[in-house]
């Protein structure tokens, strides 16, 4: 562990040569009380584990006194530490109070450990900085070609998608032409003539369907029969409107019956 504290400083900085009488001039270079304590410890040129905390405390307090007498502005932390160290010193010197927790010895040990930790990190930093460093001591390739990944799209489309798309365009873009096919129908005029004629010979109520032509030959065609039914129904309504027949239906969707209007 002693090796942690000899050798040069870190990154070119080295204060070990600073003489004691100009110590106070470096106050701005320290970052805090622990820093100063560590530096004072290093001046004792011993392993921190074997250092006398009492001597260290004395060195610190003396230093702070001198610095104050030179009217240096001392950061509050230095003075807090000084007060604490004075307390520690008196506790270490006075007869032990068993009830005190933590004991002065323990506090001294903890201080020692902290200084060791800081010293270790400082040493580690120096060793880290002294390594063969990339860009200073070792170098990567100056002009690498570089790796490149070109992303390329492989487009997918099936034959079916293609022809279907074309069909859709054509269906979509062609003007729609509507044409009504010629079909056999029973016209309203012929239905009125037929129903009127049949009513003339009828005696009693007749159902609408009985007015349709017999279902054979051309009249067997269901489409034509539907046309005849529709036209006969409209003819019946027309004849009823003109007072030529009466209509009766017993229930909704029940058979529709017709008879000649009484004269």
């Amino acid at each position: 562990m002693a090796t942690l504290f000899d050798g040069a400083g870190w990154d070119g900085e080295d204060r070990t040569e600073a003489s004691d009488d100009k110590l106070y001039l470096d106050i701005d270079g320290w970052e805090g009380p622990l820093d100063l304590l560590l530096d004072l410890a290093r001046r004792q040129k011993v392993d921190l584990r074997g250092i006398s905390i009492l001597e260290l405390v004395d060195a610190y307090l003396t230093y702070i006194e001198e610095a104050k007498s030179l009217r240096l502005e001392l950061a509050a932390d230095y003075l807090v530490m000084a007060a604490w160290l004075a307390y520690l010193k008196s506790a270490l010197l006075l007869p032990r109070d068993e009830a005190e927790d933590p004991s002065p010895e323990e506090l001294a040990l903890r201080l020692q450990l902290r200084l060791q930790r800081l010293g270790a990190m400082r040493e580690a930093a120096a060793r880290l900085m002294a390594r063969d460093r990339l860009g200073r001591d070792v170098f990567v390739r100056g002009a690498p070609e570089g790796l490149r990944v070109d992303r390329k799209s492989a487009w997918q489309c099936s034959w079916l998608d293609l022809v279907r798309a074309y069909g859709d365009i054509k269906v979509r873009s062609q003007p729609a032409v509507h044409r009504v096919r010629e079909r056999m129908v029973m016209t309203l005029d012929s239905a009125i003539a037929r129903v009127s004629a049949m009513l003339g010979i009828a005696i009693d109520w007749m159902e609408l369907r009985e007015f349709l032509p017999p279902a054979h030959d051309a009249w067997a065609n269901p489409q034509l029969r539907r046309s005849a039914l529709a036209s006969s129904f409209v003819a019946a309504l027309e004849l009823a409107r003109t007072g030529k027949l009466e209509l009766a239906q017993d229930e909704t969707f029940g058979p529709l019956r017709l008879r000649a209007a009484p004269r």
Binding site: G142, A143, G146, A154, V180
Partner: protein
Amino acid sequence: MTEPDEIVRAVEATVFAAHEPLTPAQIGVHLGLGDKAGAVDRALADLQAHYGARGVHLVERGGRWHFETAADLAHLLRREKEDVRRLSRAATEVLAIVAYHEPVSRAEIEAIRGVQTAKGTLDVLMEAGWVRVAGRREVPGRPVIYATTPVFLDHFGLGSLKELPGLDELRAAGLLDPVDDDLIGDTLAGQKRVSD
């Protein structure tokens, strides 16, 4: 092979770390070998032989030396990665129009589709290698006209564009959106859509 000596190793490292190709003289100066120019040349020859079999070669161009990837491995520097992507609906339609009507201008494509065609759509089809510029039509404005490529025929397994099915065939094969033929028979209104 024997272990490389100190000068060979230094030359190797110097050329490796350099940002640009170096002449033997530059290497010599860098390594403080000014009076032993021959040593650099020997080291370079040694290194060139050593790297001859490797994935990286030491090469000389116009008196300057540098390392580069072995020529037979150059394909490793630039790799192509294929993302399979499905052609968009719009692009498929444009492709179909080009196939059925080629050569065709963009304005004609738009007239057939009934919508404007984004420039990017044709670019995608050209990037896919299916459509090419086939010249200009000799009409006012001299519009660019497009046609399909042999790659297109390959991809769709066609011997020629004549093998593309006509509309009647498509309908017969049930490939068009169903037209309501079946419904016509039993409606009194009996209207029939006529699509051809």
